[in-house]
Symmetry: C2
Subunit: 344 residues, 2 copies
DNA sequence: TTGTATGCGTTATCAA
DNA sequence: TTGATAACGCATACAA
């Protein structure tokens, strides 16, 4: 148990060298010859010396630390994204500070503040659902921190945005159902003011239009994100005079609601009802029948977001972030829930 | 866009004060009167000053930062634990640095090293499945970092360990099945060398013994953690001459394997087969029939682990960690999978 | 109540 | 090749 932390001074004293020389040796400075360098490193190991990043970072003005702010760490999508970010940061020798906003604007501001104080070099953020203004985000940029948004973005902020191509995936998912022979497809969406949800709706509509499918307006429902509400809506539509024969939902939980409704009403999936969800949750492969879903490749999204920072840092060091949108393609996980067997 | 960071020197200059005075004012030092303090804070806000934690921490010798090392961030159990830790840390004004070992001993060592360099005050760790030695953990303690283990612990390390009471929960879960009228219960376990799994087995056996139930030795199986293996084992047992009429598994994924096996063999759950899982995964409430499972209260576990650090810090500051085990009680989530209807 | 001086551990610059 | 020095930004002991 050592009382005082071992520093380069201790190493220097032991070897009768100067601290600056030791520092250079440890950092593989070219002016130090191999023998001396090895001797210093040897002694450092012997004394169980650990480089003090705090001091070095203060001196260097960079913390080699990246901050991440997400609504909730323990939401599958975000924990996957973070896992991807961590992996990339680790490769690049950077540390990761994690904050959660818990969907609160106030906590989000506090998190930004913390990260500025911590001198992070970059902030990766997916904004809370409450967030409508962006001074706090701009403030990070003012403090010379690279800001990269992912998934849930504020449109008007200059900088890199990393997004799923959800328009495209919704289009493809819908098309997959049309190809499987479903004739009248309903849509269960999320809050319209969130970009990713409006995109999903737009993708859905494009596929419907292309197929020249006529859809009653009551088939298109926004803001039914909670499973219970999705279920209620499915109940209503499936018991109506003109029931849909398929659903595209923007979450797997909604899809689950539809499944329960169908079961209750004695409607068989996929024979009489097709179903396509979003997010490819763990349970989606496990329920019966297997739920077709859009895999958002969330870990890849994290990797892409972190990589965007490192690439910018390496190539355009100094210049400000480009105003760029990076799309991470989703992949369709086709399962039994749209496997109708026969077409038409 | 400010070129240079605003420091207390800038504030001091603007107000014709000394930097130390500004520092005191910002930190609510008692020797500063209200008027002066407010004036300084006002100016700080005006200049968009942000306290530099790096510098302060270097000066203070404490980073107000806690490091967490888990096998994988995006495993439900761990992301829940982390969410709890984050919440507590946030309350206490501490930051969180997250590392994942990805079940690799090497990465775990690297993570410890990173956290030592980062000057974290405390490391919360759940060791990788590869970890057999503990020098790296002791080294953290040598560097004056509080070490708190949770879930997967190295027995011989002095300090606080935060654990689920899995012995007790396995016992209760088994008992719940006995009470529901199941007569011959089989056990599907995990690697025996991991404490939490041997505890689950022991709890199971205690309940069996108490009920004076005679169990064929082939009912007790360790090391069948993967779902596929659990399924194979269930196939074997359920097709044997003396099939069990219930299973306790140590994971919900195993239980899912049992469900598939039962379905294939035309055995009805819960009528002819009871089933109790572990971890209360998201899907457990969603599968049909609902899977009874042990809820490990993982977020609470994270809160408890972090709280243990803060309490120790506040009350016994300076002294080394006590050798203490904190148990976080699990809760049984009883669902249809053991709802047999009639007893006997 | 206010200010001065010093050090936390590192690294870059410059000089020897 | 080696070393002295200053600086990063802050907070504390001490002096005024």
């Amino acid at each position: 148990m050592q009382k005082k932390r071992i520093t380069i001074y201790d190493i220097a004293k032991e070897l009768s060298l100067s601290p600056s020389y030791v520092s250079k040796a440890l950092n593989d400075h070219p002016s130090i010859n191999d023998a001396a360098r090895e001797k210093v490193k040897q002694k450092a190991k012997e004394l169980n010396y650990k480089h003090n990043s705090l001091a070095a970072n203060l001196r260097n003005g960079s913390s080699k630390t990246i901050g991440v702010i997400v609504p909730a760490i323990n939401q599958r999508f975000f924990s996957d994204v973070i896992a991807g970010i961590e992996e990339k940061c680790n490769q690049e020798g950077h540390s990761l500070i994690i904050c959660q906003s818990l969907e609160s604007f106030e906590l989000e501001c506090k998190a930004i503040d913390t990260l500025i104080r911590q001198n992070v070099d970059c902030i990766l953020i997916s904004v809370s659902s409450q967030t409508k203004t962006m001074e706090h985000l701009l403030n990070a940029q003012v403090h010379d921190i690279s800001l990269i948004q992912f998934d849930r973005c504020m449109e008007d902020i200059q900088g890199i945005k990393v997004l799923n191509n959800t328009f495209d995936s919704a289009y493809k998912a819908t098309k997959a159902m049309i190809d499987a022979g479903y004739k009248s497809i309903a849509f269960l969406g999320g809050p319209a003011h969130i970009e990713t949800f409006s995109q999903r709706k737009a993708g859905f509509l494009k596929a419907i239009e292309e197929a020249e499918m006529l859809i009653p307006y009551v088939y298109i429902n926004e803001n039914v994100l909670p499973m219970e509400e999705a279920k209620k809506m499915a109940d209503k539509l499936l018991s109506s005079k003109l029931p849909p024969d398929a659903f595209l939902t923007v979450s797997d939980h909604q899809a689950l609601g539809v499944m329960e409704s169908a079961e209750k009403l004695g409607i068989s999936i996929p024979k009489d009802l097709g179903l396509f969800g979003f997010a490819n949750e763990d349970f989606s492969a496990l329920v019966k029948p297997g739920l077709s879903s859009v895999d958002q490749m969330s870990k890849q999204l994290g990797i892409s977001a972190a990589s965007a920072y490192f690439e910018h840092k390496k190539s355009h060091s100094g210049t400000s972030m480009p105003d760029e949108v990076i799309y991470v393609d989703c992949e369709l996980r086709i399962r039994d829930s749209i496997n109708r067997g026969s077409k038409g």
